[in-house]
Amino acid sequence: MRRKPLKTLFTHLLLISIVFIVASPMLVAFFKSTQDRSQVFSYPPVLGFGSVEAMVNNYSRAWAQYHIGIYMKNSLIVSVAVTVAKTLLSMLAGLAIVYFDFPLKAPIFYFILFTLMMPTEIMIIALFNLVSDLGLGNTYAALIFPFMASATGVFLFRQHFSSIPPDLADAARVDGAGPLRFLWSVLLPLSWNVIGAFALIQFIYMWNQYLWPLVIIRETSRQVIQVGLKSTMTAMEATDWGLVMAAVILAMIPPLIVFALLQEQFTRGFVLAREK
């Protein structure tokens, strides 16, 4: 095929401007987080890096004075706990559904799937009463337990496992390997892409939780980052936007790190899931 240089150049320009437009709100957020009060509120607005002192000042005040450090620690604990537990549970459930026969397997599978698809938001009222009655308000448990089971996970792993040739399972059985041993030494090495993709999705999902923590957590010491962000914004005009933007940038760091680590698996995991 003959290349058309002008058209390629045009595509590049278009893509660069799209990337820039999509990223611009976050760029503005970053620049504002490095400016002092007078620069933040200047009119016409000043864009560009402020100063290192203003930056240090904004970030350190957000971290300590506005408890962003505590919020992030809480979010990290909850997100990691849920991601690990959910991945393990989904894998085991997927394994059970693909490799074991038990009565009423299909109906049970669809029933689990169906109920698990309900967003937590829907039962928030009853969940709130339940968790309060159990005395779990203001605890990590309140943030972790309702999110442990996942339809997407069970479905994803079931699909992935059933794409693995059953000969492997037979061979393992002949060799006298139990199901857990089979999972560990045969399935696990074959599943890293799916695990990576799933873990990334779950981590970001948990990191972004907002409504449930907002209603169930009343203490600063247990609150998560997304709700904490809101607390950095006081009354509209008095809001110290430099500090707020510093909190925003801080809150972006963990999900971006996880994204950078797992993005390869993320894209490949999807390809796999769809190839089946």
């Binding site: 709100p25 607005p45 109920t115 928030i124 009463n129 309702p146 970001i204 907002y210 209603v215 894209t267």
Partner: protein, 277 residues
């Protein structure tokens, strides 16, 4: 399994039960009222308004978001240098949370010192009060919601585009079909399974996940203009403590999700056939 039962099936059941009761303040007294909560909701103009707002927001966010994402993905799927870098730069916004989207767009659109109004005053000599005007408030909620979900949608569309069967596209190319025609009569139909999947996930997103954007930017206002159903539910349940009504609202949303889930199940069954053929 025990966790499943306690934190999943019990709350679902309990939501059903609560929706039939009227609970006095602080839950001191519960009275059975049958379906009164439901009929009150359907006769409440504010609730009907909330339903309409949700429909408008959802339709625009889903169609706008998917359209833009598909266009970007097709553009980024071309064989050009640095395609991998572009991909990465396009899907990283997946890591942005709705709350962050709300905070950042609130700043961009603030009337006094926001960048958007500065640019508008330079070019058109107008400085709209974005958050004070019902129509404009809905508009910026929609813009922020579409922006937040771009990374997710582009990630899925790009993955689907790279898995497309290129034989058909090459055949169309040999037949001399134009770009535009190739896209609409070959690529787009081949993408229909993933479009359908994204349609469902985006509807759920617009129903529930944009709650933080609304909470941070407008709190449902002005004059309830951005009071989507999930926000209304939150206010009834946790600000006015009308547990019964909130539970009834949960159930109405619940049935919406059930219908969506059923559609998803049915079509994902069909999808397998589709790809196997």
């Amino acid at each position: 399994m025990a966790i499943l039962i306690v934190f999943l099936y019990y709350p679902v059941f309990e939501t059903f039960r609560l929706s039939l009761y009227r609970v006095a303040f602080l839950g001191l007294k519960k009275t059975f009222v049958g379906f009164a909560n439901f009929s009150e909701l359907f006769h409440n103009p504010d609730y009907i308004h909330s339903v309409l707002v949700t429909l408008v927001v959802t339709t625009t966010v889903v169609i706008g978001g998917l359209g833009i994402s598909l266009a970007i993905s097709v553009l980024a799927n071309q064989k050009i240098r640095g395609a991998r870098v572009y991909r990465l730069l396009l899907i990283w916004p997946y890591a942005i949370s709705p709350a962050i989207a709300g905070v950042v767009w609130l700043f961009l659109f603030s009337p006094g010192y926001g960048i958007v109004n500065y640019l508008l005053s330079l070019t058109f000599h107008i400085t709209p009060n974005w958050l004070g005007d019902p129509f404009l408030a809905v508009f910026i909620i929609i813009v922020a919601s579409i922006w937040k979900n771009l990374g997710y949608n582009v990630a899925f569309y790009l993955a689907a585009l790279q898995n497309l069967n290129t034989d058909v596209l090459e055949a169309a190319l040999i037949d001399g079909a134009s770009h535009w025609r190739r896209f609409w009569s070959v690529t787009f139909p081949l993408l229909s399974p993933i479009t359908f999947f994204l349609l469902i996930t985006n509807i759920t997103y617009a129903f529930f996940d944009i709650f933080p954007i609304v909470d941070v930017m407008t709190k449902g206002g002005p004059f309830n203009a951005t009071n989507i159903l999930i926000y209304n539910l939150y206010r009834e349940g946790f600000e006015y403590y009308r547990t019964g009504s909130a539970a009834a609202q949960s159930l109405i949303l619940f049935f919406g999700v059930v219908v969506l889930t059923l559609i998803q199940f049915r079509t994902s069954g069909r999808r397998v056939h589709y790809e196997g053929a």
